[in-house]
Symmetry: C2
Subunit: 145 residues, 2 copies
C-alpha cells in the first residue's frame, strides 16, 4: 500500500484509525471518526442512508459478510479530503472486487462513505446476505431499490 502524502493530516489520522479497525475486525470505535450526519451509499441500493448510526450499522454488518478481505491500491483527490480504497474479498463462494470512496471533512470525520463492487453475481450475493441481517432495519438493502 502506498503512502498518501496529499491527504490532509486530520483525514490521514482518521484513515489510519479506519485501517487499524478493519485489520482488527473491530469497529466499536468507528463513531469517533464518523460525522453525525454522515451518508452511506451501498453497492446494492441507490437510496443513501443518512446518519452515523446507518453508516456504522452498514459497515459493521458488511464486515460480517466479507471473508478474505484485503485492501490494495489507495488513491486520493488533490484536495486531500477524499480517498479511494480498492479491496478484494469473498462473499460466500464468490470472489469480489470493490472500492470504498470515503469523503472526510476538515476535522477528519467521515462525511460520505460509498461502496461499489463487481462483478454482478457478487453484488447479488451481498444483497442476499445483507438482506438476511438487515432486512428489517434497512429494507432497501434487501429490495435493491
Amino acid at each position: 500500500m502506498t503512502d498518501l502524502p496529499t491527504l490532509r493530516p486530520a483525514a490521514a489520522t482518521a484513515l489510519a484509525a479506519w485501517h487499524d479497525m478493519v485489520a482488527r475486525r473491530d469497529l466499536s470505535d468507528l463513531r469517533s471518526i464518523v460525522h453525525p450526519d454522515a451518508t452511506f451509499r451501498s453497492p446494492v441500493a441507490f437510496k443513501p442512508y443518512r446518519s452515523a448510526d446507518a453508516v456504522i450499522l452498514a459497515l459493521s454488518t458488511v464486515m460480517t459478510v466479507f471473508s478474505d478481505f484485503a485492501y490494495h491500491r489507495q488513491a486520493a483527490t488533490t484536495d486531500g479530503l477524499n480517498v479511494v480504497l480498492e479491496f478484494s474479498a469473498r462473499v460466500g463462494d464468490k470472489g469480489v472486487k470493490g472500492i470504498d470512496f470515503i469523503a472526510f471533512d476538515e476535522e477528519g470525520r467521515i462525511v460520505d462513505f460509498e461502496v461499489m463492487m463487481r462483478p454482478m453475481n457478487g453484488v447479488q450475493a451481498l444483497a442476499v446476505e445483507m438482506g438476511k441481517r438487515l432486512g428489517a432495519l434497512m429494507p432497501a438493502f434487501k429490495s435493491g431499490v
Copy 2:
C-alpha cells in the same frame, strides 16, 4: 474537477486524451493510448478481457448504453500511475454511479481499465444492454459469470 499534479506526465497526457474522447463521444483514437495487452474488467463479469481490442470494444459499447454521462471526483495513487474517475450516468431509466479505475504504464498507455458501478439494478440493466450488443462477442457480459 480537480487537477492531478501527482499523475506522471505521460499518464496525465493520456488521461487528458481520454477525457477529450469521452467529451466528444468519439473513441476512434482510443487505441493510441491503450497497451496491446491491456486488460478490461467489467462491472458485470469477474473474468477479465485481455487485449486492446477487448478494451476498445467494451468501452465503445458501454458508451452507447450510458446516457447523461458525467465525471465528478478524480483521485490518483501516489506513484502517479493509477487514477480513479467517479462518474454518474443513466442506463435506460436507472440512475447509476460508478468509477473507472485506470492503470497506466510509464509510457502513458492504459494497461488495466476496471469499471465498478452501483446500485445493483443499474448493473443488471447494464448487463442486459451489453448482452444485447455484445452477447455473441463477449458472452460473459451476458451471463454475468
